[in-house]
């Protein structure tokens, strides 16, 4: 089935600057995002920051990528 995922997700973006910029870019698209410290640094490439979004996560990821913010991975916010 198509359509946007509607649960909470962490978009892992790495640096604090990416996170700040990403948050701002998402807010201009009407997507609310919250900054979080990445919980499990050893799962990815180490310490860093994630953006918690609860709606339109696919659009959020596309927006970030299109605007040059590196998206490392997307994980469920369980």
């Amino acid at each position: 089935m198509g359509g946007e995922r509607m649960s909470n997700y962490y978009i892992h973006v790495g640096s604090i600057t990416n996170a700040m910029r990403g948050k701002q870019l998402l807010e201009t698209e009407g997507i609310r995002a919250y900054l979080h410290r990445t919980s499990h640094p050893t799962d990815g490439d180490g310490c860093g920051y994630s953006l918690l979004v609860s709606d339109r996560v696919d659009k959020a990821v596309n927006t970030l990528k299109k605007r040059g913010v590196r998206v490392i991975r997307v994980t469920d916010a369980m």
């Binding site: 604090i16 600057t17 860093g48």
Partner: protein, 382 residues
């Protein structure tokens, strides 16, 4: 004190800058980009807001391209060593500060790797000189926007067009012009802009900015902790982290943002005109005195940074500066870390006394300076 040494660093700092620094020491004194607690995130936000303000001020679309450095010298070293580390040559002017010349000279230990163009007042002739100096392996055009000694400005936009036409990167040393002369990185074709915010942006010392349009990814001067990608021993590739290792000067950075806002609110052009008009007054008065030596045409808006170098006959410039200091006038004399410029203008033996007003300087101070110069000149005859 009559402080006319603003080309070294500006004083006074605006109240808003001082307040921003104090506030940062109280409220934003956690390490940004390292933790998830409230103060760390708030400090990070302040740093990001400064990146944005600086990017907007200089016409850089992406605030990630704003890199905070220790000072403008560190920014220049990062670019020079980064672009030319393995190969290639640079072309530069004969007015450069040692912050440009020393790293170029260090790269030229075994073989000369840079070409120097003699400055001239005719913009098109100067651009042609730069064009003729470009060689097949020239990769970087690096030059001052305006001389820190004589104030003469280079036609950066025309040089940027030339550089890009020949596939070169353009790095501009804007130590004397940021916050004073108009700079737009896109329109001026600037790839790397090096800024001393503690000068024309009225920020605290211990701050520097490198703005990158990043057509080429340059390696860092310093590698270390960035708060990101910590599992890897490789420095992160993306900006600003690639070029920013270690704990940043958060209170200084907050001061930078306040300084940018101060200049924007007062009006960059208004500040510039104020300073040039003060120097024009001084120039006109000193020119009437046959004992005074002036080395440049009358400062003109758009063609000069607000800096004027003078001498009293053959009197050593440091003696004149000492005499001015006794009369509570603060200036810098000597070679100003720019022997190249002094050679160009024939003042390498004597140095010069440099006058550099700020937004806070006044006509009354200018009148006093002229009066004291006359008195010193007369006294030195006896």
């Amino acid at each position: 004190m009559v402080y006319w040494d603003n080309a070294a660093t500006t004083w006074k700092k605006p109240m808003t800058v001082r307040q921003a620094v104090c506030q940062a020491l109280s409220l934003y004194s956690a390490n940004p980009g390292r933790a998830g607690h409230k103060m760390s995130l708030e400090a990070a936000e302040q740093v990001y807001l400064c990146r944005q303000a600086v990017a907007d001020f200089f016409g850089l679309p992406d605030p990630s391209g704003v890199v905070f450095t220790l000072n403008c010298t560190a920014a220049l070293n990062t670019v020079i060593r980064g672009v030319l580390d393995k190969s290639g040559r640079a072309v530069t002017s004969d007015l450069e500060h040692n912050a440009v010349m020393r790293p170029l000279a260090a790269l030229s230990d075994h073989a000369n790797r840079y070409d120097v163009v003699e400055w001239c007042a005719d913009e098109d002739a100067l651009v042609e000189r730069f064009r003729r100096a470009i060689r097949p392996d020239t990769r970087l055009m690096i030059c001052t926007h305006a001389s820190n000694v004589f104030g003469v400005a280079l036609p950066i936009r025309k040089l940027g067009e030339l550089a890009h036409r020949y596939g070169l990167l353009l790095c501009v040393d804007a130590a004397q012009t940021a916050g004073v002369l108009p700079i737009d990185m896109e329109q001026d074709h600037i790839d790397y802009l090096c800024v001393a915010p503690h000068k024309g942006l009225y920020a605290p010392m211990g701050t520097g900015i490198l703005l990158c349009r990043e057509s080429e990814k340059i390696p860092p001067l310093v590698r270390g902790g960035t708060g990101s990608q910590s599992l890897s021993l490789l420095q992160p590739e993306e900006l600003p982290d690639r070029l920013e290792s270690g704990t940043p000067n958060v209170s200084g950075i907050c001061g930078v943002r306040a300084g940018v806002e101060f200049v924007s609110k007062l009006g960059r052009d208004r500040i510039y005109r104020h300073e040039i008009e003060l120097l024009q007054y001084v120039y006109d008065r000193l020119k009437q005195n046959p004992d005074m030596r002036l080395y440049t045409p009358r400062p003109q808006i758009g063609y000069a940074a607000p800096v004027l170098s003078v001498n009293i006959r053959d009197v050593p410039s440091e003696e004149v500066a000492a005499a001015l200091n006794e009369r509570h006038i603060a200036v810098r004399a000597g070679l100003h870390c720019a022997p190249a410029a002094h050679r160009r203008f024939g003042t390498i033996e004597q140095g010069t006394v440099r006058l550099a007003p700020s937004a806070f300087s006044s006509r009354g101070e200018a009148e006093y300076i002229c009066k004291v110069f006359s008195q010193i000149a007369e006294k030195s005859l006896h």
